[in-house]
């Protein structure tokens, strides 16, 4: 069965329909990206999938004993709450220190266990949350615009890490992203959401779909061009090109 499946999901927030008739499923090992304009219900949909919101219509089916590794957009940690990276990883279940150290090393943050979370950069914090997710043995990583506060090299490195973790652990990855060009290259499947599922399929198929072009064709022409370039590039080296950000800036010039 699918890890998570949504059938005919709809929700109204503040009297306004935000999502309607969303059918969705994600399988083990898949990387699925949800794209969509602001206010299209992407984050709301993720919140429904993790159980933070109850849909008004339809239903969500999770595989039994599914372990979700959620990496939220940001944490709401008050400055009065002292917490280290290691303690964060041990929430809500405490982990042995060697396991925490190993998980931090795996995400490129060796020796960070004792560092206060407040002292970390946005990119480091996202990596700590990834370490928490993989140490918990996540079957699926759910990332909500994980690279929003990162610059381009950090963004590229982050997606590379996500793909490595998928390869090593076999977990599925579901993410919402605005980094269309990078994400397109790294995803098995793209879902274009705008209150409902406009179109979905392989990155190539979605980018060619009229529904997708209607949403992104003009507003993000730059990103679109970047994507096409990155995609062209991928033909000469499918593995390396998949998450390689290097062609992107070059594409911007062309």
């Amino acid at each position: 069965m699918s890890l998570i499946e949504a059938r005919g999901v709809g929700i109204d927030l503040g009297g306004r329909p935000v999502l309607r008739d969303v059918d969705f499923a994600i399988e083990r090992g898949e990387i699925v990206t949800i794209v969509g304009p602001n206010g299209s219900g992407k984050t709301t949909f993720l919140r429904i999938l993790i159980g933070a919101l109850r849909p008004d219509r339809g239903r969500v089916i999770r595989a039994p004993a599914l372990r979700i590794g959620h990496v939220p957009q940001r944490l709401a940690i008050d400055p009065t709450l002292p917490i280290t990276a290691g303690r964060m990883i041990g929430l809500p279940r405490r982990r042995p220190a060697p396991q925490i150290a190993a998980a931090l090393e795996r995400v490129g943050l060796p020796g960070f266990a004792g560092r206060p979370l407040a002292d970390l950069s946005g990119g480091q914090l996202q990596r700590v949350l990834l370490a928490r997710a993989i140490l918990g043995g996540a079957d699926i990583l759910i990332l909500d615009e994980p690279t929003q506060s990162l610059d381009q090299p950090a963004t590229a490195a982050f997606y590379l890490l996500v793909e490595e973790l998928r390869r090593d652990t076999g977990c599925a990855v579901l993410m919402v992203s605005h980094d269309l060009h990078v994400v397109m290259g790294a995803s098995d499947r793209v879902i274009c959401l705008n209150g409902h599922v406009c179109c979905q399929g392989t990155p190539v198929a979605v980018s060619a779909a009229p529904e997708y072009r209607a949403l992104f064709g003009t507003g993000t022409r730059g990103a679109f061009a970047l994507y096409r370039h990155a995609h062209d590039h991928r033909h000469d080296g499918p593995q390396a090109g998949a998450a390689d950000p290097a062609p992107a800036p070059a594409g911007g010039e062309g």
Partner: protein, 264 residues
């Protein structure tokens, strides 16, 4: 016997201090000071209720504090500006409680003791109630510690881990309601929030982990109870305000020490 009432006062203060410190950490981390005020001020409504229904003061206070805690917990979630609504609830409850106490005939109730506590008058049976309540609060908070902490750090991560943030909010509300009922005789309705917030805030610069902060807050709160009680006896001060003043002094010292520590 002189030492006897002092011993009871000290034990009562200690019980409240130990229960309030870890709970107070969550009040600080989640910015719930107004929530604490609203819950505490409902104690006056509870006292009026106890008079009207002719039930025990503690029971009346417990019922009203729990009701208020649950109400504002639910209310604050649904409103856009929870801070101002909680402010209205906190001060509205205080004023309404005073008005109702006046209407129901204040002869049976010492309003000043309700507002500022009267720890030197605590009897052995009061002490039993205080320690039972304190143990319940401490047990609840420690039992749910990890879940509470996770829900505080990120309600979304909590949901993904199968923790219901609403249930954790309710657990804190219940703990706060019970605390008000047991602290009313020690520091009074006006200073309950001080016992929650000040030791936790004082402990912040000294701690690097949530657990260390809760422990430090408990030590500071216990020390403040002892110092306040001592000062109250030596200088003939009201004990509740003296305890809170001691805690505030600890906060100032902690802030200063924390600053020097970081510089050094």
């Amino acid at each position: 016997m002189l030492a006897d009432f002092l011993l009871r006062a000290g034990l009562a203060g200690l019980g409240v201090a130990l229960a309030a410190a870890p709970l107070g950490c969550f009040v600080v981390w989640r910015r719930m000071a107004y929530f604490g005020d609203a819950t505490a001020h409902a104690a006056l409504l509870g006292a009026a209720l106890a008079l009207v229904l002719d039930i025990s003061l503690t029971l009346g206070v417990l019922v009203m504090a729990l009701a208020m805690a649950a109400a504002v917990t639910g209310l604050a979630r649904r409103l856009l500006a929870p801070d101002s609504v909680l402010g209205v609830a906190a001060h509205g409850a205080l004023a309404l409680g005073l008005v109702l106490l006046a209407l129901t005939g204040r002869a049976g109730v010492d309003v000043e003791a309700l507002l500022f506590g009267d720890v030197l008058a605590v009897g052995w049976s009061d002490l039993l109630v205080i320690w039972a309540g304190a143990a319940a609060i401490l047990g609840l908070v420690l039992w749910r510690w990890s879940r509470l902490l996770c829900a505080t750090v990120s309600s979304e991560i909590a949901c993904a881990e199968g923790i219901d943030p609403a249930r954790e909010r309710l657990a804190l509300a219940v703990a706060a309601g019970v605390l008000v009922a047991v602290a009313i005789k020690v520091v009074g309705a006006l200073l309950v929030t001080a016992m929650l917030v000040i030791p936790a805030a004082a402990a912040r610069p000294l701690a690097r982990t949530p657990e260390a902060m809760a422990l430090a807050a408990a030590l500071i709160a216990a020390g403040s109870v002892g110092a306040g009680l001592g000062a109250s006896v030596a200088l003939d001060l009201p004990p509740g305000p003296a305890m809170v003043t001691a805690a505030a002094a600890a906060f100032a010292a902690g802030a200063l020490a924390g600053r020097l520590w970081r510089r050094g």
